[in-house]
């Protein structure tokens, strides 16, 4: 498993991984996100605190997770991205759809507008 996940009382699932989210790990991450969403975890926060580097394949996995979550009526948010990840989001203008939240709490706060099951 590339990802560790934990679901709180509020039904929000925080997903974590270590290392690089890139060509070598993106396929597995995409698959695991799809499985989480398919099993009903549709409100996700991807904690990037321990992700050292993201490339275009990694971005693809996050976009794929975002799409699947939205289709299921939820969302995927990212939190605690480092400077490299922010630089990448800015360069691709994907920060418009994957807004980097400073903290898990901030990402969680915005979720109150999306009704839980």
């Amino acid at each position: 498993m590339a990802l560790q996940s934990e679901t709180g009382d509020d039904g929000i699932t925080v997903v974590r991984m270590d290392g690089r989210l890139d060509l070598l790990t993106a396929t597995e991450v995409k698959q695991e996100l799809a499985e989480l969403i398919a099993s009903g975890h549709r409100r996700l926060i991807f904690d990037l605190d321990r992700v050292s580097f993201v490339d275009s394949s990694g971005l693809g996995a996050l976009i794929s997770g975002l799409k699947a979550a939205r289709q299921a009526g939820g969302d995927l948010r990212i939190a605690r991205a480092n400077n490299q990840v922010r630089t990448l989001l800015n360069l691709t203008m994907l920060e418009r759809v994957l807004r980097p939240y400073e903290t898990i709490e901030e990402a969680r706060a915005g979720y109150s507008q999306i009704a839980a099951d």
Binding site: F53, D55, S56, S57, L66, R70, N83, L88, T92, R96
Partner: protein, 147 residues
């Protein structure tokens, strides 16, 4: 005047990406200990571009089932710029017809592309990205980012 130079030669996809990340990290650390570099963001842009071009060569230049995916990388720091040269021995690069559009304010997430950003990212992050097919059978990519 060349300030710092580093090389790495790798054989497989996994080894290749790991080695390139180790190399660029050491390169920046050496460079920062000796010279004044622009911002951290400047370094991230170059590192991101390098990783994209390397990933592109490692993944697309060789047949899908190839285990051996040789790649050679050289980094050079000059007073006014940083350069990388990447060589792979795969098939010639064929530009894809479509590059994803940047999302606008009304982006439809359902149709957002999940791939194809790689060389677009590299070009946007650099001052120049040049490709040459060398007749004796290898691909050569040159990345330049000015200070």
């Amino acid at each position: 005047m060349l300030l710092i130079e580093a090389y790495v030669a790798t054989q497989t996809q996994n080894e290749g990406l790991d080695a390139i990340h180790d190399m660029i990290e050491r390169f920046w650390s050496n460079a920062a200990s000796m010279y004044q570099l622009p911002s951290e963001t400047w370094r991230h842009l170059f590192t991101t571009a390098l990783a994209e071009v390397a990933a592109n060569g490692l993944r697309h230049a060789y047949p899908p089932d190839a285990i051996e995916r040789p790649l050679w990388v050289r980094l050079r720091l000059f007073p006014d710029r940083v350069e990388a040269l990447l060589i792979d021995w795969g098939s010639p690069y064929e530009p894809s017809s479509s590059t994803p559009d940047a999302p606008d304010d009304n982006v439809n997430i359902a149709t957002l592309p999940e791939s194809g950003y790689g060389l677009f990212i590299a070009r946007s992050a650099l001052d120049s990205l040049r490709y040459r097919r060398i007749r004796s059978g290898y691909n050569c990519w040159k990345l330049v980012k000015k200070k």
